[in-house]
Subunit: 125 residues, 2 copies
Amino acid sequence: MRIGELARRAGVSTRALRYYEQRGLIRSRRSANGYREYDESDVRIVTEIRGLMSVGFTLDDARPFVDCLRSGHPSGSSCPESVAVYRRKLAEIDDRIRDLLARRSEVAAQFAEACPGCLLPRRGE
Amino acid sequence: MRIGELARRAGVSTRALRYYEQRGLIRSRRSANGYREYDESDVRIVTEIRGLMSVGFTLDDARPFVDCLRSGHPSGSSCPESVAVYRRKLAEIDDRIRDLLARRSEVAAQFAEACPGCLLPRRGE
DNA sequence: CTTGACCTTGTCGTTGGCGTCAAGCTTTAC
DNA sequence: GTAAAGCTTGACGCCAACGACAAGGTCAAG
């Protein structure tokens, strides 16, 4: 299939696919007229990339998963490198959450001080 | 005082101060040779800006606080516009925290699936 | 034959808050 | 008199993941 069909099937833009190629995440054969040609395994790879990005992974984060798929594994996460990325991302997310909670309480405190009569909204309201 | 002293006293770079001026957050008089001249109120303003930025406010978020200070209030947060920003930022932080918690559980679930034997690290460990 | 839907490469723009030169003033210290 | 320190404006760089053109080649349908 050509880039337009891959884009539709994977739910991304053709621009994104060319960018992934430029970043080394996908490859393409070229047909005689210079058009990029893809197959089913590319649909799988791009789907994997988007799934990871939807939970906050960068393209570099996704690379080990792509490599894992390409090396024949049925799942992109069944390689030790992918598992390592999972651990790192979990730690990053946890750091970020801690940071936001600290900020939240600082802002809430300043808010309460600035507006003593104000009803302090609780988290989530 | 000139820009270098203000920078030292407020703990920012001179580049940052010129940037704040360009963004309309601080103003400066010019002495005969073209150098920027500041006074104590500018130290206060820049300190306020940095305090807000340290908890995740953008320069635009800080603007009402600066205006509040400049209009004669002893605190930058004692104006209704500032209070409104507090509310909005609290909501933004809460949204972000909710988003991260959702991501965290998704990643944790995929991780557990990919690595069934792995000990799932709990949040914060 | 021409329209229009594809495809190609290349380049600039986006967002925030500056860092980092560049090239040239002024002022201060010795 | 000169060197160092401080000041000026201006402009590019950064980071991620593309979006949005531009200018052109390709191919099937009518």
